[in-house]
Point group: C2
Chain length 331, copies 2
């Protein structure tokens, strides 16, 4: 737990990945805006709004590619703009309410994903997951992990297998930690072991999160998701993506257009501190990969499960309302 | 470099993976037998042979899956048995010669694999490999890496991609190191990134080693090989296994009968020293997986390439002479 008492501390927390996971970043940024204008003088409305703009701009630089970050900041700005004649003290109150609303909506979104997905988690099943899309990535109990928490609350018993998720090991460090703590049976494995686990018959389904989903359903998620999808298909195991509708970027037609961040080679070469490769050996280290829609059985959203994953079904379920993607899309 | 001066040190070195790679284990075990009986009294022939048996049995317990281990030990035993009336001092000399012969044969075997496989390494290709089946796994320049070294000696240029190979990182620590040192262009990647690399069109073929090959061609190799084979097939990329005929175990009909060693959970939980998972979280950590023959394009042996990989072709090429497998087979 980190307590942030200034906008600088929030910026740092986002920048240094102390807050990570798209939904959690959005909530933190909204709260950061409140902190950023909290001590601003209330006598000068124009000055107050300029300060608000500065704060939003500053927070937006913490992780320039995170779609939920710019979405949350845009939403805070628009809340202020919706009060054209309000006194700064009123705007402050409205901003705090808006930030809490973003948090509450995120929690409600997680609960809804859990509700829609929990039927997939039958008694006794084995579920494989990758990276962390749990309570450490959102305001409540996660996206990919929400169906698991919901099934657990209903008393169902099942096994979870957590890919450790190289290079940063979010699976072993975060997912295994939070599930273990909740009393859910969890086994850790190296990413390269999932194929053997599937072949052994112990995996009944795979659930992963998403960083961005194109209009076609092609899904960018943590590196290592795509091979899992190929393996799941080869073994006849269903693979579900769990993500809020805000993760869809309908302006992007398919996965080939999703920009992929490449990380520092030292995340691979110095995984947990020690040097484990020649220091000057080049590394290939994309942070995400793209899983084509045809390898995805269904996408669990807060509005229901999109299955089969087609452009039409996606438009039906998430095309109708404002999402971070459509807000953040240029033009 | 580790100098072992006792059989216990050799056992430890094999157990702790200080010597690893099937051929290198065989050579080390043979040398270990020599060390184990070196100081034995030479006056009592029966006592000497009992001691030899004990030493072989003891060394055989160091690693369960490695067929070269039991093969080399059996060969040393048979060398002693072939001298029914010899004095223990004569047997000692014969054992030392036999151990050196195993080493020399291994070197000749690596060179032959290189010769047979080098034509696959065309100018400009991209080759993906997993784990380490190079000079650090054999008495000379390896099995999977031998075709690369041979092509390199012929002046051909190509790119190698080395899977880091969790949990022990033999790919980034050994393969990348030895190729880099030899002037071969090598890029390191996390195991979970191979799928994206293949999809990007940068991989023309995959070459891996083998720990044990069944009569059907099903191949046990370092964990993470099987998913590579599934991915290679999905991307239309040929996958070759490079292994000496001694790696075949024709007494084992298919891969389901190959015993798979499971390693300590701490190799996963404390992979790079630091604890990276809940300390009491269970881990699934088989050391090897089995790739079915139908996912293998060809097997490069010192006697030629077995292609297609069928029981009949395997018997033709490796079935006619004593192999570790047929020696080690019970009955």
């Amino acid at each position: 737990m980190i307590e942030c008492r200034s906008v600088t501390e929030v910026w740092e927390a986002i920048r240094q990945l102390r807050v990570r996971g798209a939904p959690a970043i959005g909530v933190a940024a909204a709260m950061g805006v409140v902190l950023g204008v909290r001590d601003e003088t209330e006598s000068d409305r124009e000055g107050f709004l300029r300060k608000l703009d500065d704060v939003c701009h500053y927070l937006g630089t913490a992780r320039p590619t995170a779609v939920n970050l710019s979405w949350a900041l845009q939403r805070m700005r628009r809340r202020a703009q919706s009060l054209p004649s309000a006194h700064p003290s009123e705007i402050k109150r409205a901003l705090l309410e808006e930030a809490k609303r973003i948090r509450d909506e995120d929690e409600a979104m997680c609960r809804a994903i859990g509700r829609h997905g929990e039927a997939l988690i039958a008694e006794g099943v084995g579920v494989l997951t990758h990276c962390n899309a749990g309570s450490l990535a959102t305001a409540y109990y996660g996206t990919a992990l929400a169906p698991l928490y919901t099934a657990h609350e209903k008393g169902r018993r099942f096994r979870v297998y957590a890919d450790e998720t190289r290079p940063l090991l979010q699976g072993s460090r975060l997912t295994a930690w939070e599930l273990h703590r909740s009393g859910i049976e969890v086994t850790v494995l190296c990413d390269n072991t999932a194929g053997t686990l599937m072949k052994s018959g112990q995996v009944d389904l795979v659930i992963v999160g998403a960083d961005r989903i194109a209009a076609s359903g092609d899904t960018a998620n943590k590196i290592g998701t795509y091979p899992l999808a190929v393996l799941a298909r080869a073994h006849g195991i269903p693979l579900y993506v769990a993500a809020p509708s805000s993760t869809f970027d309908l302006a992007i037609p398919d996965g080939s257009r999703i920009p992929i961040e490449h990380r520092s080679p030292d995340e691979v070469r110095r995984g947990m501190g020690a040097l484990t490769a020649p220091p000057d050996a080049p590394c290939f280290c994309p942070a995400f990969d793209v899983t084509p829609a045809d390898l995805i059985t269904g996408i669990i959203t807060e509005r229901g499960i999109i299955q089969p994953v087609t452009t039409e079904r996606i438009r039906e379920i998430v095309g109708q309302q404002e999402s971070p993607a459509s807000v953040a899309a240029p033009g």
